[in-house]
């Protein structure tokens, strides 16, 4: 039986880990390399590195940090942020990334998903969507949640899978940073619409939120979170123990 994955997300700016609440008010947390190694040792099943830098210098720092992490951490690494072209895929894959997540770049140019999945395989292409309720529908936002694209989320995600996305990260802007639990309603709608793995993101505040997620929505494959892990509010060994006790399959290390 495949285990449910627990995935810490590291937002990286200028080579350091940061995490905002509702995408605003970022604060420096730690070194990505150190944090990645710590999480790997704790039993994290995968890591997401999200590059929120815009400058060329920041990009270089990011790939340096990514290379250094891939030299010392041997679990799957997903990279996102600033991925707009197949060349961007190449840049991070050469530094040790296993999967690449696209968001705004794919909204601007959906063919990016098709080109990248043909070149690197579906398993390499993760479609990340920042979604918020607006005008009675789930709406896709771009640019880190700041810009309404007008796209209806379920249709967009289905299109992404048809183009070749092998996995979906669904980040609910409505629950992100609130720590009141994952957005079960939104996640159910998405996981019923696609057959590829769905990773839940946004809203986890405590261990029970992960239990509720996997018990309520058995088709969701993984739970992703950032600050609750970074600040030690939820510790991964304790989280996995609690899941295991509820009969939810997780990897033991």
């Amino acid at each position: 039986m495949n285990t449910k994955r627990i995935i810490p997300c590291l937002d990286v700016k200028n080579g350091r880990v940061v995490k905002g609440v509702n995408f605003q008010g970022l604060s420096d947390v730690s070194s990505p390399v150190e944090l990645a190694k710590y999480y790997s040792d704790c039993g994290a099943d995968e890591l997401v590195f999200y590059d929120i830098t815009a400058s060329a210098e920041g990009r270089r720092l990011f790939t340096d940090v990514l290379c250094e992490t891939a030299r010392t951490v041997f679990i799957p690494l997903t990279v996102g942020g600033g991925i707009n072209t197949v060349e961007d895929f190449d840049r991070v894959l050469k530094c040790g990334a296993d999967k690449v997540s696209v968001n705004s770049g794919a909204i601007r140019n959906p063919e990016l998903i098709r080109e990248a999945s043909r070149k690197y395989g579906d398993q390499c292409v993760v479609l990340s969507a920042d979604v918020k309720r607006l005008d009675g529908q789930f709406r896709v936002f771009a640019k880190g949640g700041r810009e309404d694209t007008g796209l209806e989320a379920i249709g967009w995600i289905k299109k992404g899978v048809d183009l070749g996305a092998g996995e979906i990260v669904l980040n609910s802007i409505d629950t992100d940073g609130v720590k009141g639990g994952f957005d079960l309603e939104m996640l159910e709608a998405v996981s019923n619409a696609v057959s590829v793995p769905v990773i839940a993101s946004g809203g986890a505040g405590k261990i029970e939120d992960f239990i509720t997620l996997f018990e309520t929505l058995p088709r969701v494959d993984a739970g992703l979170a950032a600050s609750i892990f970074h600040f030690g509010e939820v510790r991964i060994p304790e989280l996995k123990k609690a899941l295991r006790e509820r009969g939810i399959p997780v990897r033991e290390v």
């Binding site: 994955r5 891939a70 799957p76 993984a222 990897r251």
Partner: protein, 208 residues
């Protein structure tokens, strides 16, 4: 030295790094002379079987790998590199493999319940079959390893060292004389995976 066969398919950064992490000299190379002289060979691979098999043949390295393996050089195929060890694959047509281990590669969709997701992505447990495999010298049954695949080997029961259960038992590792194959990624399976690479290189288990 461990030579990782570089035939232009996939990214070898993590694989090279994983050998460095266990203190084994390894290099990714497409140089036939270096491959022939290597103590051990690793055959990686991602993407579609037909493309990879064609790339391996066009680079001239299919013969180099096959001859070295037949001469007794330890060979480890990983993921698609493992699938290439078999007679043939049915991924988008029928494509011949290297024929080092008897068996075929078939879509897992043919054998697992339709509600299960494909690709099989994530951490799953190993169940050992057959006798003790040297690759698992440091590995306990039930250990979790990282899989990413939509196809798996069939008809290779005599050489199967481990399976993983995903709606049906899927071939996870094979072993025939000096030739080994892992459907999962040891270089992405944490300390469990590194211990398998140590076993392949004749090294003792790691500290953790």
């Amino acid at each position: 030295m461990v030579a990782i066969v570089d035939y232009g398919v996939g990214n070898l950064f993590s694989l090279v790094s994983s050998f460095a992490a266990i203190g084994v000299e390894a290099a990714a190379t497409g140089d036939p002379e270096v491959l022939r002289r290597a103590d051990k060979l690793v055959l990686p691979g991602v993407g579609a079987f037909g493309d990879a098999a064609a790339a391996l043949r066009q680079s001239g390295l299919a013969d180099v790998v096959t001859e070295a393996a037949r001469a007794g050089t330890p060979l480890l195929g990983i993921c698609l590199g493992m699938q290439l060890l078999f007679d043939e694959s049915y991924e988008y047509g029928v494509h011949p493999g290297l024929g080092l281990i008897p068996g075929q590669v078939r879509a897992i969709a043919e054998r697992i319940p339709p509600q299960l997701k494909i690709p099989h992505i994530g951490w799953n447990a190993l169940r050992f079959t057959g006798g003790p495999c040297p690759l698992f010298r440091h590995t306990k049954e039930g250990a979790y390893v990282y899989f990413v695949h939509s196809y798996a080997a069939v008809g290779c029961e005599a050489n199967t060292a481990a399976v993983t259960d995903y709606g049906a038992p899927l071939t996870a590792a094979v072993w025939k004389d000096n030739v080994y194959g892992c459907q999962f990624h040891p270089e992405k399976s944490g300390s469990v995976g590194l211990d398998m690479l140590r076993a392949f290189c004749g090294k003792e288990a790691g500290a953790c």
